[in-house]
């Protein structure tokens, strides 16, 4: 009778035990207080400064997910050009929906796992894969295949932080709509942020690619929809969240009914990578026919706003495209 039940563990942590009579109560409490104080002090960490965008080169690789990802990175000089030994790296895939990979609304698990492995091979001190999922984290990670794909890489942590204390207030000095927001704290402490969006349609912003995907690092995204111009806010957020690299998973494209699907899915077997987040997204717009129509990158309002912020280029004609693979 209990077949097919969605059993899961919710209370995961063991409680450590202090043996009886080893401390008296007062010294125990004092010790706990000191630890708590140290812990609060440790939470103060200077924000890493944003890096300026570099020359616009895009790698466009064809093939199945893992090999296309490797080819794209090799075209850009290998992962070693971006991740140094001892770096701490945050990977940001789309994992918001408890749907299987075939729906095209989450980043392919193979792409995430491949990048995670490459980072570790490059000597990354730690790799954390994070998305503040819309759906139940356990279901999103299991049904998207992400948990299984990463389970064989023990050094990688997979997180959907749902405690406000794990986020840190960040000012957005150049923001026109977004003035401040809370961002997953570890992004601010890490040397590298690698954005791993999937390519999909989005009924409010046209497409959801790299820049839109960065909203998954934010604590309160409701305010983006409710209190401000969504497109402007996405571009504003990109002024403070500056990925080292954006690797767009175009192995599939969700062309209609995005971002959650189910909609029309096409196999593109393409991975696009680059340091210019606007150019990667611009190329992503040209990958397919959204709702049956060709659309130009400058028809996407949040990309226009990002260009106005000087975050990158939309003119693909001026971008060096390095094609690899079949």
């Amino acid at each position: 009778m209990r077949d097919g039940v969605a059993w899961g563990h919710e209370m995961g942590t063991d409680s450590s035990r202090i043996g009886p009579q080893q401390f008296d109560r007062r010294s125990f409490l004092a010790g706990m207080g000191a630890l708590a104080g140290a812990s609060i002090l440790a939470s103060w960490v200077p924000l890493s400064s944003a890096r300026a965008g570099e020359t616009s080169r895009l790698a466009v690789a064809k093939g199945e997910a893992a090999s296309a990802t490797r080819l794209a990175l090799e075209a850009l000089g290998g992962i070693d050009s971006f991740v140094k030994s001892g770096d701490s790296v945050v990977l940001k895939p789309n994992a918001s929906f408890p749907n299987p990979p075939s729906w095209g609304c989450n980043t392919s698990p193979e792409v995430v796992a491949t990048v995670a492995r490459l980072c570790l091979e490059a000597g990354a001190r730690r790799v954390v894969v994070v998305d503040n999922t819309l759906g139940n984290p356990q279901l999103c990670f299991s049904r998207s295949g992400l948990r299984d794909a990463l389970s064989s890489i023990p050094q990688v942590r997979l997180l959907a932080p749902k405690q406000e204390g794990m986020y840190r207030e960040v000012q957005v000095p150049r923001g026109r709509a977004l003035r401040s927001t809370k961002v997953f704290g570890e992004v601010m402490e890490s040397e590298r942020l690698i954005n791993l969006p999937t390519a999909k349609s989005h009924s409010a912003t046209g497409v959801s690619l790299g820049l839109k995907g960065l909203m998954g690092l934010v604590w309160d995204r409701n305010t983006f929809h409710r209190d401000m111009d969504l497109d402007q806010a996405i571009a504003d957020l990109a002024t403070v969240l500056r990925p080292t690299l954006t690797i767009l998973d175009g192995t599939r494209g969700l062309l209609t009914a995005g971002p959650g699907g189910p909609g029309k899915v096409e196999q593109w077997n393409t991975v696009v990578a680059g340091t210019d987040p606007v150019a990667v997204d611009a190329y992503g717009v040209t990958l397919g026919q959204w709702y049956g129509q060709r659309v130009r990158p400058d028809q996407v309002k949040h990309l226009l706003a990002a260009r106005a912020h000087g975050l990158g280029t939309l003119e693909l004609g001026r971008v060096e495209i390095l094609e690899r693979g079949a």
Binding site: G4, G135, P161, V295
Partner: protein
């Protein structure tokens, strides 16, 4: 080693163990509702209310058997609430003596039992308020579990920064999620009151109120194992002073079998070793049957009349008849009257609910619907890929369903309140209801130059993800009402849903693409600017 205390501790641990492992695979070995199913009072009441023998209560026959042989041994050795009362009494050094008002009314507990039985005959179950196992179960779900998790969460939050500094990620990444419930105050007050009674006088709840204990006492009137006092009794009265139940009368040879827990504390203090529990060679061949308190005819009538009035009261309460628009029951809940008859209000469904949307009702379902499960979809959604509530329900008030059946057990329909909607009212770019809908039941249509959301009723399952995630503060701009809910006593929800024209997934789940929705000639695809 004290046998009684060891057993008490063991059963208490088992109770909490079963509870806290109810969402793990451990529950396949030992069901989390084992204690509830061993409750003969619950079994009787639910069988009477549902007017059929409910077989899940078969384990209760063990407890009935124990009562026939050993009287209220269950209360003394196994009942987890009794154990908590004993623990409290020990810590608080609670006095044992009988309050005078109770001494004058020895028939009170029997009266309460009869009241519970009589009111159930008229369709009103008092189990939710008075059955110790139901009460402890629900209080564990609604109070103890949240307390523990909240405390753990707070401690984790304090140590998280340090842990991440020293790279103890197992600690810094650990998250505990506190379930939050309505009626916390009432839950705490009711159980607090019961335990407080037993802190004032030992086991006062068990002596004066508990209808389950009372039932076991009645069954144990001719038990083999019973307190017997031999000829060596010197009438010192030491036994009377230590009896936690006030079961020993002024004459220490006299034992109230309706009270005696067979705990043996009297025997431990007896200077003449005059007290035994097995039939003795010396002394009375059979224990004196001193416990039976014949109720006066007047008291019997009072119990009957009280039950009648209680039953009539819930029957005339408008809560039963008023169509409650927002009373959303768990998926697979039986049709409403049957559901209320079967539901124990034990809180197991609330405890295992993946999102903790299942909440106790107050007046939403009428007077007798209090504590019954309802969904608060603004607080949390009902997960499509979860069927735990039906799997743990001890009585089948929520039917155990496969995941496929469960996704077809529609619980309501979303209604868009345009005057609150950011898109309809303020022309904002919001699509949250659409992107989050697990059933693809929101569609956007061009109205007055902007794409605006509509609910496709035939696809809406009532899961409430839209209501939960709607970014409008306070009341959501899209709310789920009971409209269109599917409640089946038996048979397939899949077939019923299909017969009524609902589409909850079908083959798209397997990755088959939906038909491409081309945008029309000259019309922009959604979200894009004109070139």
């Amino acid at each position: 080693v004290n046998l009684r205390r060891s057993l008490q501790g063991l059963f208490l641990l088992l109770f909490f163990l079963l509870f806290f492992t109810s969402t793990t695979s451990f529950s396949r070995m030992l069901p989390p509702d084992l204690f509830l199913r061993s409750d003969p009072l619950a079994g009787m009441i639910v069988s009477v209310m549902a007017w059929s023998a409910i077989t899940v209560f078969l384990p209760a026959l063990v407890v009935v058997g124990s009562a026939l042989l050993m009287g209220r041994a269950f209360c003394g050795y196994a009942c987890p609430l009794g154990t908590l009362a004993d623990l409290g009494a020990r810590l608080a050094r609670t006095p044992h003596e009988e309050p005078s008002w109770l001494r004058r009314r020895p028939g009170l507990p029997l009266l309460i039992l009869l009241l519970v039985l009589a009111s159930s005959l008229l369709g009103f179950s008092l189990l939710a308020w008075l059955d110790p196992l139901v009460l402890l179960s629900r209080t564990t779900a609604l109070v103890l579990q949240p307390w523990l998790l909240e405390a753990g969460r707070a401690v984790l939050g304090i140590f998280r920064p340090l842990a991440s500094r020293i790279e103890w990620f197992w600690l810094s990444d650990a998250e505990l999620h506190t379930p939050r419930y309505w009626l916390e105050g009432l839950s705490v007050a009711w159980m607090g009151g019961i335990l407080a009674l037993s802190l004032w006088r030992s086991r006062l709840w068990c002596r004066a109120v508990c209808p389950l204990g009372s039932l076991l006492g009645v069954l144990g009137q001719r038990a083999v194992l019973a307190r017997r006092v031999g000829d060596s009794c010197v009438e010192c009265g030491a036994c009377e002073k230590v009896c936690p139940m006030g079961a020993i009368g002024r004459d220490p040879r006299h034992t109230s079998r309706s009270r005696c827990l067979i705990c043996g504390r009297c025997g431990e203090v007896c200077p003449g070793e005059a007290i035994g529990f097995l039939p003795m060679k010396t002394g009375p061949a059979r224990a004196p049957n001193g416990g039976w308190i014949p109720l006066s005819r007047r008291a019997l009538l009072a119990a009957g009349a009280g039950g009648l009035m209680a039953g009539l009261t819930v029957r005339v309460d408008a809560g039963r008849a008023a169509p409650r628009d927002r009373l959303i029951r768990p998926p697979g809940a039986l049709p409403e009257p049957l559901f209320l008859d079967r539901c124990l209000r034990c809180g197991l469904c609330m405890s295992v609910c993946m999102s903790h949307t299942i909440q106790p009702s107050l007046w939403e379902a009428g007077l007798d619907g209090i504590w019954s499960p309802r969904l608060d979809l603004r607080l949390a959604p009902c997960e499509k890929h979860c069927n735990r509530c039906g799997q743990v329900c001890p009585t089948g008030a929520v039917r155990p369903l496969s995941l496929e059946e469960r996704t077809h057990a529609k619980i309501g329909t979303a209604i868009l309140l345009r005057e609150r909607c950011l898109v309809w009212e303020q022309d904002k770019k919001c699509l949250v209801c659409d992107e989050i809908c697990p059933y693809d039941a929101i569609e956007f249509r061009e109205v007055e130059g902007m794409r605006r959301p509509f609910v496709t009723e035939s696809r809406c399952n009532g899961c409430g993800y839209c209501e939960h995630k709607c970014p409008v503060q306070g009341q959501s701009a899209i709310v789920v009402a009971r409209m269109g809910e599917i409640r089946l006593e038996k048979g397939s929800f899949v077939e019923e849903a299909r017969a009524r024209g609902f589409v909850f997934e079908g083959s798209r789940e397997e990755g088959e693409s939906a038909p491409p929705s081309q945008s029309r000639e000259g019309e922009l695809p959604p979200g894009f600017l004109r070139p």
